[in-house]
Symmetry: C2
Subunit: 494 residues, 2 copies
């Protein structure tokens, strides 16, 4: 699939300065069909270590070769259901001995094919490592195993009055969220995984177990391995435990939904709120298509116009003051259909639609799968990029729904498609490719929160040019046999 | 100097598990006397490149071998006054050809000997790269050269209504602040360099110029080289430009000073404020010695008791509400001498003392130099660590003043000493060593914001154990000749 993306994009003017990189990757592409299938001695050694917790059954392999992305991902040769950091270390040592790839697996909610056994190998399933090891309310932190899911953690934390704020939508595992540097609706207020993970336990390519970071709020002690591993997509290490920052549940919350005449008005409203420094806990954009899909799917009757949902967290006094200013701003931009909510039930109703946007959009074309784009741009460029993107959708004759974490300059176009419709698929991929190039021309990034995975490797080299070589030097130094999730971020070797 | 620290500390029980590391470093210590003096061909090539902007005059070398630390740092063989990223690249290429070390120099305000030419080599003076390249109010960001100082930047930004919040006290250069991952009084609210630097231009050990990060608020595009370089103390690259996040000047500010019966009451007050999630912009602790020194130095009459200064930034309504809650909390902990200020003049008066704490403490022993410790611990351990540290000061019969960024669990003990008093010096170093070991036992870090430099190498290996090997693997991969500020963070090779 992405061979096609590469060959198409190599015609782009933006590619010229990456000729050297692409030359290298062309060689690598030729090697891609080769697999490094786990040899029988590796499977035997793993079976001896794990017993029944090593599976080679077809259904299990298929399940571990499936995520929520549009990529046709490859199933692994075996799945290791691990239960401890030490077991992960043993599994990696066994695989390293024969150069067998290892691919960490959390909840399978990746949108960029991260769990694919692109070159074959062993999937390390971390769902059995789902213990919340320690909660320290007095430090506002907790330590969890990598297989703990976001919802599991917040359910468990309920009694403490604390919560873990990063919310990518899916009920992802903490390990997966670390792998992709996840963020989401609350990042504008509470930060992303890089700001909310304090320390890690991880297993390196030779099976060594390391601990990074510390439980302190800040440190200048050496290289920041924590943030090097966050967003490294399993290509440097398998993360097995994490120390997370927690926040107190806000005393009060207030949510507003409103609609605008144009997308530009909605985006300019957000820019004004940000520039005035008014604290928002979430600020989400939806275009007409997203609102319409959500209305149908969730049986709502929101005005089918570009819309914003804005939420404040704080003391009752603070949120009233913040909300009053924001209401003035949205009216300056001719907002209509303003609805406000403070009770949990009313707020839930306002958010219910937004949270189902992905499935609502897919349901517009029953039986479809979907591709979701993930660019982010500097705030000042957001309105232009979104307006041009809407025009492109119209010109291409594609159905797509836009939702955006606009406080962070990050938005998604959700594009349903049918895999047996090659013409539609080509249109969708062409549109996605143009969108990334547009974002890069506006000094943006190809991925705000989903990661590079299989789908953004080419764009990474355009976006980061020479520094991709530096990233690759680090990869080679820490994983000389290229066994750690090969074929993600960089074109791997077979 | 630090041979002494090492040999003393090798008696500590904490050292046992680092026997292997220390064995390695013992070998390296023997090599330390060897220098890699810049050969004459290197000096000639640099002179050809820079003309008068290459200096080998004794006074210039001495100045570039002087920082604000207690270390006896070594002057370089030559100083290159560079004016562009390209020149830095050329200088590094010339030095790399002969394996000559390069040491970046900003404002010389390091507290850990970072600017020392430990193995000889060329100091790259970046003070000529002091241009503010671009301010984008609509993106709340700016791009600066590495030699721009914090005060210069904020003076320049005044007309925009924006400011760069990281404030380490000294008028450090932005490049130096990046090198050490600086933070300071405002970090509890606005974050440190890791959260406020978005992108870098840097020159690698082979002279390659790379750009890291982007102008977007977030990205998941590949390894986070920006945060790998922040805090790497010039050992991986010389940073020449940075894209910084800016914040709007707060609409209103309110500052409170108050005093307590005990340090524990003061620290517990901070813990309560943090756990209740009340926003503070600064929250600074001073012990009796710090207050007394400041009173004398700045002609103030604050109560000579453990004290806090707490500041709020926000709208007038927000800061009144926040301040009211904090006033209740401090009274619960029997605070006295509560003074409040909202006008600039009154607030300046409350802060004037704190900002001069370092010089005030040194002035207590006229003619002294000072060592300042820099541990940080998890918030729940802070009170215990500070109480034990005060007891240690008393037992040792040392004069030291404590100030702390207590919202981050980070505090400094400022210890004046005379270099010609070896007994006092030994006491000071013994105390400092015990303090770091105490912090590490409480799951803390040896350095919250000053960096490892020359003084914390041994502790780094205790704190991070196996992961120091991973850091060193990265160092060797990116700087195989060990020319980038060798002898900092890791024991370098001669």
């Amino acid at each position: 699939m992405w061979r096609q993306v590469i060959s198409r994009a190599s015609r782009s003017p933006l590619q010229a300065r990456n000729a050297v990189f692409l030359k290298g990757s062309a060689l690598q592409r030729r090697q891609l069909s080769a697999r490094r299938t786990a040899p029988s001695e590796t499977i035997s050694a793993l079976r001896e270590l794990l017993g029944d917790r090593l599976s080679t059954s077809r259904s299990v392999l298929e399940q571990h070769g499936t995520d929520e992305s549009y990529h046709e991902v490859a199933p692994p040769d075996a799945v290791a259901f691990v239960e401890s950091t030490e077991e992960v270390s043993e599994v990696i040592k066994i695989c390293a001995a024969t150069g067998t790839p290892v691919i960490p697996f959390g909840s399978g909610s990746s949108l960029e094919g991260h769990i694919s056994a692109t070159f074959g190998g062993v999937s390390i399933d971390l769902t059995g490592m789902n213990k919340i090891l320690n909660v320290e309310p007095e430090n506002m932190s907790c330590r969890v195993q990598a297989g703990v899911t976001r919802e599991q953690l917040n359910t468990d934390l309920r009694a403490t009055g604390l919560f873990f704020p990063v919310d990518p939508g899916a009920n992802a595992s903490i390990g997966g969220m670390i792998a992709t540097n996840a963020s989401g609706t609350t990042t504008v207020r509470y930060g992303n995984m890089k700001t909310n993970v304090m320390a890690l336990t991880a297993v390196m390519a030779d099976g060594r177990i390391i601990k990074t970071g510390s439980k302190t709020r800040k440190s200048s002690a050496g290289y920041d391995l924590t943030r090097l591993l966050i967003g490294s997509e399993g290509t440097l290490a398998v993360v097995t435990e994490a120390e997370l920052r927690l926040f107190g549940n806000p005393e009060a919350e207030k949510t507003m939904i409103c609609s605008f005449n144009t997308m530009k008005d909605a985006v300019d409203t957000c820019a004004t709120v940000m520039q005035m420094g008014i604290p928002v806990a979430r600020m989400e954009l939806m275009d007409e298509n997203a609102v319409e899909a959500i209305n149908k799917y969730s049986k709502l009757d929101n005005a089918v116009r570009p819309s914003l949902i804005i939420e404040h967290h704080g003391s009752p006094g603070e949120i009233e003051e913040q909300s009053a200013i924001v209401q003035e701003i949205v009216r300056d931009f001719d907002a209509k259909d303003i609805e406000l909510a403070t009770s949990i039930e009313e707020r839930k109703k306002l958010w219910s639609g937004r949270h189902s946007a992905w499935w609502a959009t897919l349901s517009q074309l029953p039986g479809s799968r979907g591709l979701v784009t993930d660019v982010a741009v500097p705030p000042s460029k957001l309105a232009d990029v979104i307006v041009e993107t809407q025009a492109d959708l119209k010109e291409t004759g594609l159905f797509g729904a836009i939702v955006g974490h606009v406080g962070d300059g990050n938005f998604h176009v959700m594009l349903p498609f049918f895999q047996d419709d090659p013409e539609l698929m080509a249109k969708v991929k062409g549109f996605s490719s143009r969108l990334v190039e547009r974002a890069l021309q506006y000094e943006g990034t190809c991925t705000g929160e989903h990661g590079v995975g299989l789908g953004k490797m080419k764009y990474l080299s355009i976006e980061h040019s020479d520094s991709v070589d530096i990233m690759h030097t680090i990869k080679k130094a820490l994983d000389p046999k290229d066994i750690m999730n090969p074929g993600k971020i960089f074109y791997g070797k077979a």
